[in-house]
């Protein structure tokens, strides 16, 4: 049942470009994601408010206002199509009825705009991973698991096009690994814990998608790599460390596709280019358009091979023109228009390269998203099917590639980056082939109070 990806989905680097991919997906409204056109993907969230039985009705109204405002602007600007992402807040997954109701409200408004104006839209339902509400997290059963699965079922049944999640398996150890810049613990969290949880979780999500005529779209390493990027942007951890973590997460994210996900990947999965190169599925991305949600050193390059272009998230707050989600919608539409015009004029590869060259020499995090860099690493990753060893390999290749890029003067780096790259190279080399041997090696450095080994089949027979 599990797929394996043993070769790249591309033969030619010049085919690896935004807006199209080898395995596009077609939404219920007929939008072809990855079929040649890049579309906006709008994400949005509530303003500062409490959610309870009473106020949830206000929240429904705000969600409706957001969608009405955004789709009106999309229509006025002749958008050829728009994807909406409902990313639920904790309360809306904990109380699946609320999340399902918001999903339904959005679908109804989408239908209205389709009927009235012919506007083509699609909905991604991204359910918040509530399993970490128990500390230590319980990953495979319990009320949080049940509620989350109920929410996925309901959103899928009512007509969402895509199911996504930012799953958190392994994050309970990865956070500490990040702030201490411990690459071994990063590899353990991503390659063992996260990968095992993904296999379990995505088995269920693919099943739900299949039964409800929708797409299992993919799982972002948001809590891992984006946390790293934000910490690095604040100067808390080395940028090279965050960039290596980014590449390492590609292996984790791939597990969803091995289990049957078909894309589009989630916007904040910046390792998306690796997924696209290996699986040929469409991807979503965010960059300068998502500055409302977080800053990044990859504002342009993140668009280079994107099939959806997103704003990540913005609250319903009033700016001088109008509410912030409408502002995002306008900006995304213009960005996509420009990229699609380049495609129309046969200049998409040149445009991609402008996006790439404008960012990649300035920052190591941008450098690891270069399509050629992605190709080189991905070619090696497809040779390794074991997610743990693939995670280690990804990190090793990223370290090597960055060292070479810095040495060749192709990317400028902080004066301290070389030191950290050397430390990482050394520590990665020390990681043994066998995950259980590795576990025993680093066991005493892990905070045992923070996670439940049994939830990750540690000590049990496993395919990993």
């Amino acid at each position: 049942m599990k797929k394996s990806f043993t070769q790249l989905a591309y033969k030619d680097l010049n085919d690896f470009v935004y807006g199209s991919c080898p395995n596009p997906v077609t939404t219920k409204s007929g939008l072809v994601i990855g079929g040649g056109t890049i579309y906006p993907e709008l994400n949005f969230t509530l303003p500062g408010m409490n959610i309870d039985e009473n106020s949830v009705k206000d929240a429904y109204k705000i969600y409706a206002d957001i969608i009405n405002g955004a789709l009106k602007r999309a229509h006025e600007l002749y958008a050829p199509g728009v994807v909406l992402e409902l990313e639920t807040l904790v309360n809306f997954t904990e109380n699946p009825k609320w999340g399902i109701e918001v999903n339904r409200i959005i679908l109804d408004i989408m239908k209205e705009y389709a009927d009235k104006y012919g506007l083509k839209t699609a909905l991604r339902a991204t359910l918040n991973d509530t399993r970490e509400m128990s500390r230590p997290p319980v990953m495979r059963s319990g009320k949080y698991w049940d509620g989350m699965i109920e929410a996925f079922e309901g959103c899928a049944r009512d007509g969402a096009d895509f199911l996504s999640i930012e799953s958190t398996g392994g994050k309970e150890l990865h956070d500490d690994a990040l702030v201490n810049a411990e690459i071994k613990q990063v590899i353990f969290s991503l390659g063992v814990l996260a990968a095992r949880d993904m296999e379990f979780l995505w088995g269920h999500l693919v099943d739900i998608a299949d039964r409800n005529n929708c797409y299992a779209a993919g799982d972002s390493s948001c809590g891992f790599a984006n946390t790293a990027m934000v910490l690095a942007e604040r100067g808390f951890i080395p940028k090279s460390f965050a960039a290596v973590v980014r590449v390492a997460t590609a292996s984790r994210a791939l597990v969803a596709y091995e289990m049957g996900a078909v894309g589009p990947s989630k916007d904040c999965e910046y390792a998306g280019p690796y997924i696209k190169a290996i699986t040929g599925t469409p991807i979503s991305a965010e960059g300068k358009s998502a500055a409302c949600a977080h800053f990044s050193p990859v504002g342009n390059i993140s668009a280079a091979v994107a099939d959806l272009w997103s704003n990540e998230s913005v609250q319903q707050v009033k700016l001088l023109s109008d509410y912030a989600p409408i502002v995002s919608m306008e900006q995304l539409i213009y960005d996509c228009r420009l990229m699609n015009e380049a495609t129309k004029q046969g200049m998409n590869v040149q445009f991609r390269d402008l996006l790439v060259e404008s960012d990649s020499p300035l920052d190591v995090h941008a450098y690891v998203l270069r399509p050629d860099f992605v190709f080189d690493i991905s070619k090696e990753l497809v040779k390794e099917q074991n997610p743990f060893l693939r995670t280690k390999l990804a990190a090793q290749l990223a370290v090597e590639g960055l060292k070479k890029g810095i040495a060749d003067g192709k990317v400028s780096a902080d004066k301290r980056d070389n030191k950290y790259l050397d430390i990482m190279a050394r520590e990665l080399d020390e990681i043994p082939e066998d995950p259980m041997e590795f576990y025993n090696d680093i066991k005493e450095d892990l905070d045992e109070s923070k996670y439940l080994p049994g939830e990750y089949l540690i000590g049990e027979a496993t395919s990993v």
């Binding site: 969230t45 509530l46 303003p47 500062g48 408010m49 409490n50 959610i51 807040l89 904790v90 309360n91 970490e132 509400m133 500390r135 956070d175 500490d176 990040l178 702030v179 201490n180 810049a181 411990e182 946390t227 910490l231 604040r234 100067g235 808390f236 951890i237 080395p238 609250q315 301290r416």
Partner: protein
């Protein structure tokens, strides 16, 4: 201070494997434990904090320095009187009800500990009642609350209102933080301060406690 420069440098460099040897040697040389602590160990950490603020040190490096200092402290503890070591203050931290995002809060905690504060972390998803209990039992100088979501940030206000109602609000300073939080929000809900990130939180605690001292 030159006498314990090597120990201070060892803390600054985060050479936690070497600190025991250096401290033992100083003791053998007849140094007073409190001098080793103040001039060597804490002296080293005092070099760290400004370098972190200006971005010249990373968090993992600060963590290693703190670890180095703590190993030295552990070694000297039995040689000093209880009460000789004073904490800069006691701080209780937690993410408010409904909020699970704790990496920011944990970072703040680590940086505060490195700067000489005693930090008691309640964890995530903390009910107002539990903050109240912590105030009564731990008698902290400062409560630090965080929220990362627009739908949980209002629980900061709820918690502050609850503490007000229970008559303990003025016993502590309250600082808040998290992505959707701003100075204006802090003013609105009646917090004493807003820390944009871990570096800012340390400065904020220093200034809140000097206010408190002068009040």
């Amino acid at each position: 201070m030159s006498k314990f420069e090597n120990i201070a440098q060892c803390v600054l460099d985060g050479e936690f494997k070497k600190v025991k040897g250096l401290v033992n040697k100083a003791m053998d040389d007849g140094a007073k434990p409190m001098d080793i602590i103040n001039e060597g160990l804490i002296g080293g950490m005092n070099l760290v904090t400004p370098l972190f603020k200006t971005g010249e040190m990373f968090v993992p490096e600060v963590m290693k320095s703190a670890k180095t200092m703590n190993i030295g402290m552990e070694l000297l503890k039995e040689h000093i009187k209880e009460g000789d070591l004073v904490t800069k203050g006691v701080i209780v931290t937690g993410t408010v009800k409904g909020d699970l995002h704790d990496i920011g809060k944990n970072l703040v905690g680590m940086m505060l500990e490195s700067s000489g504060y005693t930090v008691i972390d309640l964890g995530t998803d903390i009910e107002p009642e539990d903050f109240l209990k912590a105030i009564e039992e731990q008698k902290p100088d400062i409560i630090g609350m965080s929220a990362l979501l627009t739908t949980t940030m209002m629980n900061i206000k709820e918690t502050i209102d609850f503490l007000q109602e229970k008559g303990v609000r003025d016993k502590v300073k309250i600082m808040i933080g998290g992505a959707p939080i701003s100075q204006e929000f802090a003013d609105q809900v009646g917090a004493d301060g807003y820390g944009e990130d871990a570096a800012a939180a340390v400065e904020l605690c220093d200034s809140l406690l000097s206010e408190k001292a002068h009040a």
